[in-house]
Amino acid sequence: MNAYTKYFVKKAGWYLATLIVALMLNFLLPRLIEGNPVSTIASQVSQGMTDSDSIKRVYENFAREFGIDKPLIVQFGIYLKNLLTGDLGTSFGLYPRKVSDILGSAVPWTVGLQLPAILVGWILGNVLGAVAAYRKGVFDKVLFPVALFINSIPFFTLAIMMLYLFGITLKWFPISGGYDYQMVPNLSLEFIWSVIRHHTLPFLSIVLVTIGGQAIGMREMAIYELNSDYVLYSKLLGIRDSRVARYVFRNAMLPQITGLALSLGTMIGGSLICEIVFSYPGIGTWLFTAIRQLDYPLISGCTLLIAVTVLLANFTVEIIYGIVDPRIKAAQMEEG
């Protein structure tokens, strides 16, 4: 095996183990905690204590789908089998819609909002942070406190303020939904324009918060690199500034990639709440609705999807990191 394959296999095994733990948590936590939703539903089904026929039907259906009268280990087997076939159960709130259908319709909105927003925010933040460290002076003195303040504004606070300022007061952008509610989704220019206008505010609020955090991290890393011996040595050798800046940027960039991997969970969580503020038709808004309606299968589907996505995204970043960072290759070579 060459060094990269080894790195890849090691990481893949590690993430597989983490995935199993995440699945078990998703399964066990709502079943083992005192007063948990699953056993409440189970006891209501067995005692026939539900108030109306429709609720009874919904619960009985759930009991059948997940086998909640069977021992825990059998239940886990059913749960895994359902997962592998892509069956996440039937929603309570929107009975008889399947949870996987609802999530399927929400995923494109969430991905379309978060992926570009986090990437753009990350890249812009890193460039600004590097420039602040390099230029110093006024640019740095102004940028740093602003970034620090933006970074301490939670995602949803910024979202709420933008909603109020640009949506309600100035009326520049629509304030809720993914597209104009009178429209039927199609591929006309008019519809696409409506989607873009609805996308702008949530997108900008995620980008701005991400820039703040990334700029601070990058500035710190770049200052550290700029003070290191190799920079001084290169300068003494008379190497051009632009070239030194490139080395500094590349070295400071590496920890930022790990940083991205580690903060993805928080970013995605924050962006989900951002969706709620704008009633954006993604996973976050569905989670909000599901919690209000005590729609347990939908809640559980959302949490599972979020956990799996965060793990996958982390895995991707770590693989990229392995390719970009020469030290990883060197370390693997030494071991082997």
């Binding site: 905690i33 007063g35 620090l148 301490s152 606070t157 928080t266 709620i276 979020i306």
Partner: protein, 278 residues
């Protein structure tokens, strides 16, 4: 100790952050003693704009929003402090154990920490909160604390590993001191400032976590917190009604508190971390 405080007071960042935090805490502790009204009491019609009577107007239930804000800050800061204490304590114990004891203890604890860093704590927070029917503010704080320790654990472990083979630690080992004693007297003092900084960050992220989970509708059920205020504002469509006073103040207050805590942290970092001292 005295000299440390004196150095800290020379850092403008630390000073500004500490002053904002202290003033705000003092205000929310003292104000309820002067205005003894019940924050749950309905005083006016729904969504009345700010006036000389109601400084921040009324919410959807017609309650005094200024009074609610005062109680909300109190609850949120309390939740942040309790969650921060729990997370820091767990992180400290796990970090010290895996960093100092090493061997299989380290392997197991590091694997555990790494897993819980990638599994989003946000998700575990939702899963536990959904399962508990009546969540008091303390339960919410407890759940947040129990899910946010991995960062502290990882950082403490790294610091402990770098201290483990210092001369003074080896000397203590040769003198036959117990592991517990070595950790408390030879390791802890060196990472104390660092742990305190981590604690400040944990408090900030605890306040944010409470706000996020409450916005989802999983907040404390019997108290007013900054998160539940925003949850009510969203559920009762305050933004569409143009009632900015129902959601802008709590949103801004959260930003100001976290900013102040970040400033304290950055100020301390610049003093205790020689690498970035300018």
């Amino acid at each position: 100790m005295g000299s440390t405080v004196r150095i800290l007071l020379r850092s403008p960042k630390f000073l500004i952050g500490a002053i904002i935090t202290l003033l705000m805490t003092a205000f929310v502790l003292i104000y309820p003693l002067i205005n003894r009204a019940d924050p749950f009491e309905m005083k006016a019609l729904a969504f009345q704009p700010p006036s000389s009577e109601l400084w921040l107007g009324s919410d959807n239930f017609g309650r005094d929003l200024f009074l609610e804000l005062v109680y909300g800050i109190r609850t949120s800061v309390e939740i942040g402090l309790i969650a921060g204490l729990i997370a820091t304590a767990i992180g400290l114990v796990i970090g010290l154990a895996s960093g100092y004891v090493g061997r299989w203890v380290d392997n197991v604890l590091t694997a555990l920490t790494n897993m819980f860093i990638v599994i989003p704590s946000f998700v575990i927070l939702i899963l536990i909160s959904v399962s508990i029917d009546s969540r008091s503010a303390f339960i919410v704080a407890l759940i947040i604390g129990l899910t946010s320790w991995p960062w502290t654990a990882r950082a403490v472990r790294a610091q402990t590993v770098s201290l483990r083979n210092r001369d003074h630690v080896n000397l203590a080992k040769i003198s036959g001191h117990s592991t517990f004693r070595i950790i408390v007297f030879e390791i802890l003092p060196y990472i104390a400032s660092y742990v305190f900084m981590a604690f400040i960050l944990q408090v900030a992220s605890g306040i944010l976590a409470e706000a996020s989970i409450s916005m989802l509708g999983l907040g404390p059920y019997d108290t007013i917190s900054l998160g539940t205020m925003m949850n009510w504002a969203l559920i009762f469509a305050a933004p569409v009604s143009g009632a900015w006073w129902a959601f802008i103040p709590p949103a801004l207050v959260i930003a100001v508190i976290t900013f102040a805590l970040f400033l304290i942290n950055t100020g301390m970092d610049e003093i205790f971390n020689p690498k970035i001292r300018s």
